[in-house]
Amino acid sequence: MGLPWDSSQPTPSSGGPLVSATPTTESQESAAPRRPRLVERELLVPFIVVVACFAAWGVAANLTDVLVGVFRTIFDMSNLQSSVVQSAYYGAYFLLALPAAFINSRFGFKAGMLTGLGLAAVGGILFLPASQMLVYEAFLVALFVLAAGLSILETSANPLILAMGSEATATRRLNLAQAFNPVGANIGVLLGAMLILPGLTSEAAKTIMSAEELRASQEADLFLVLRPYLCIAAVLIILWLLLAFRKMPELPGEQAVLAESATPGAASGGVAGRLWRNRRYRYGVIAQFFNVAAQTCVWTFTIIYALDVVGVSTSAAGWYLQASLILFLLARFAMVYLLGIFRPARLLLLMAAFGVICCLVAMFSLNMIGLIAVVAISASLSLMFPTIYGLALEGLGEDAKFGAAGLVMAILGGAILPLVQGAVMDAVGDTAFGFVVPAVCLAVVAAYAVFELRDRPHRPAVPETAGEAAS
């Protein structure tokens, strides 16, 4: 949950092992004399370390959502300037996705993990000089390095989990690991809500401060930001040490997963063209871009809406983002049930329309009802990534492995659209009106759902991929 996609889906590097692994293994399982272990005993410690990584990047990603409002206050910036935080973070994720895949295929998953952990830890430590320099751009560099490391880490950790045992238990293993990601995401927001937001110097106090006092308050506030990132860096270093100095036994599935991962790259030339000519896939990528954009926009500006529109205190504002994440998580379980009743595209249309309505309520109801609507948008977002993912890849056959990469790289929407929302808010001078941006994004998702319903009018409920992903 930390990042907009459900990373139980194959990442660019992991190709499509999840989808192809499950059906074959269940038949093997029934015939096997011994039920395969979830994780082999000698791999238990590395497995725990990798699972901890899933939580770690959840913490970092959602702490970033808190940072936009925090930096706006500390550096007295515009919404556009402060939302560059998300561009640095998601931009790094986007840019590092393919290099990460290269590291994995060339040097193996352990090397990828160590590179990612190391780079992310360096990013966390870079908050230290940044907080002494009192320069916003230095924090952006630190965030970019942190996110770059986490991108490599995530790209390596997903297939590594798959390779850490029998193919028969791969899906369960990955689902177990993924369960720790939303835990981390909630911890990330909790850290921001408890350690950073309540301690910030009030804007009223700053109105009567001298230049020296202002600088001292800025230092004190940036120290609050520094603490959680240093904690993250410390955890990442511990994980790095646990992984680096522990001899990793041969991984049962590494070669198979690597071979799967390598396939998309090798075939990329013709496949890319073929995929782009496929209208369903192309529209799916566009819908995913706007879905990720909507999610990042909403979570980036939830705290700011609470502060600017409703006048919630700084110490209480973080709890509304926390509520959004919890709702997102709970709604996911509800969606698994509803996907058994409704066609995925129909449910996608319903939820996208619900999201648009929530955005409109947020734009025109400038009070607590508007804030509740902002929180409620997360319910509509909860099913979107896996559902669009499943619909767009359906029927692509072997091309699905490469197609998955395109869908995951739609994360670029999270780097670009928050800037647009920040610019709209600044231009109009109205924080609430900025929610027109996620409204448009969700309307694009709704349009994609309508296209799907018209293009495949007789499609049954519960596509396999969407059902798996939502679980």
């Binding site: 804007e203 009223a204 529109v309 700084t314």
Partner: protein, 329 residues
């Protein structure tokens, strides 16, 4: 160390750590006396004082009157707090002169007294005054109104909704407005001036009367937001478009900022910060009680122009800033 000794040692260490983490007994007692609790302005002041007292490890005594003119309750509170050994008292006087004898009594008993929000007359009756610079507040909205009138090409016909005679904050705001607008008391562009006592209904009545005298009024200055909200109602009653009338005021409460400044019915307000009065007051008294410098003179607790429609050359903050820093709901 054997395991047998390790457990008691760990318990002892944990106990010592817990003891060191626990807060010490407050060694300083400070009192806060506000005017009333019906107005969220005073509620904010008390809440911030309580928060600051906790941070400073200070015992805080609080008391409030029943209205803005309740002198007796404040006199009683001053005496009670002095008897309870308060080191310092913050008081928002309901009457600038009537409270002076009780304040002097407290000071003679060794209590340091700071007037917050409203100064005493004479100002020397207290050790220090922590308040909004009301002249500056008026000047900010006056300068804004002038710049905006010029931008819109208006021939100003000004209505002034005052507080009441003899109340210094109202007089200072009015003088500041006139100076900011660049006019004198007898300027012919002033269509009329009436007192409102800072009350919404009286503000509405006054605005209605002024509009009856001069329907062409296009600039309105109101001494505070309740009076301004009354003016908004009167202007709506006669069908005046809010875009045709410049309405400026002083305060920064949430109701006016969200319901009138945000939609543009009030063009600008000068926001004051009761939280600064409380925080700076408690901190100054605590520092003095612990051997620091005695508070003295006047501390300007800040004022910021809030508008959703900035005027050229006039520094202001947007409505979002106003919402984040307003008081009340």
């Amino acid at each position: 160390m054997s395991a047998r000794h390790l457990v008691p040692a760990a318990v002892l260490t944990a106990g010592l750590l817990l003891t060191s983490c626990g807060s010490e007994q407050p060694d300083v007692t400070i009192g806060l006396i506000t005017k009333q609790e019906a107005n969220p302005y005073w509620v904010t002041m008390r809440e911030v004082a309580e928060q600051t007292a906790a941070e400073e490890n200070v015992e805080l005594l609080t008391a409030t009157g029943t209205s803005d003119v309740d002198v007796d309750s404040q006199v009683e509170a001053l005496r009670e707090m002095t008897a309870q050994g308060a080191d310092g008292i913050l008081i928002a006087p309901t009457d600038s002169t009537a409270l002076v004898p009780a304040i002097e009594e407290a000071r003679e008993a060794g209590v340091t007294v700071i007037a917050v929000d409203t100064p005493t007359e004479p100002e020397s009756a207290v050790d220090a005054v922590f308040a909004t610079d009301n002249h500056e507040a008026g000047e900010l909205v006056g300068a804004y109104a002038r710049a905006k009138a010029e931008e819109l090409g208006l021939e100003p016909r000004i209505a002034i909704l005052d507080l009441a005679p003899g109340i210094s904050s109202g007089e200072q705001r009015r003088a500041g407005f006139l100076e900011g607008f660049g006019i004198e008391e007898d300027d012919p562009r002033i269509s009329g001036s009436l007192d409102t006592e800072g009350d919404r209904e009286l503000g509405e009545t006054a605005m209605r009367d002024l509009l009856a005298q001069d329907p062409g009024i296009n600039v309105v200055y109101a001494v505070n937001e309740p009076a301004a909200l009354g003016a908004v109602a009167a202007l709506e009653e006669v069908g005046r478009d809010q875009d045709d009338v410049l309405l400026v005021t002083v305060d920064g409460g949430c109701e006016a900022i969200k319901d009138a400044v945000r939609p543009g019915a009030i063009d600008a307000t000068a926001q004051q910060f009761p939280e600064n009065m409380a925080r700076e007051g408690v901190t100054a008294l605590a520092e003095h009680a612990r051997g620091g410098a005695a508070p003295s003179g006047f501390l300007n607790t800040g004022v910021v122009l809030i508008t959703g429609n900035p005027a050229p050359g006039i520094e202001s903050r947007d409505v979002a800033f106003g919402v984040r820093n307003c008081w009340g709901d």
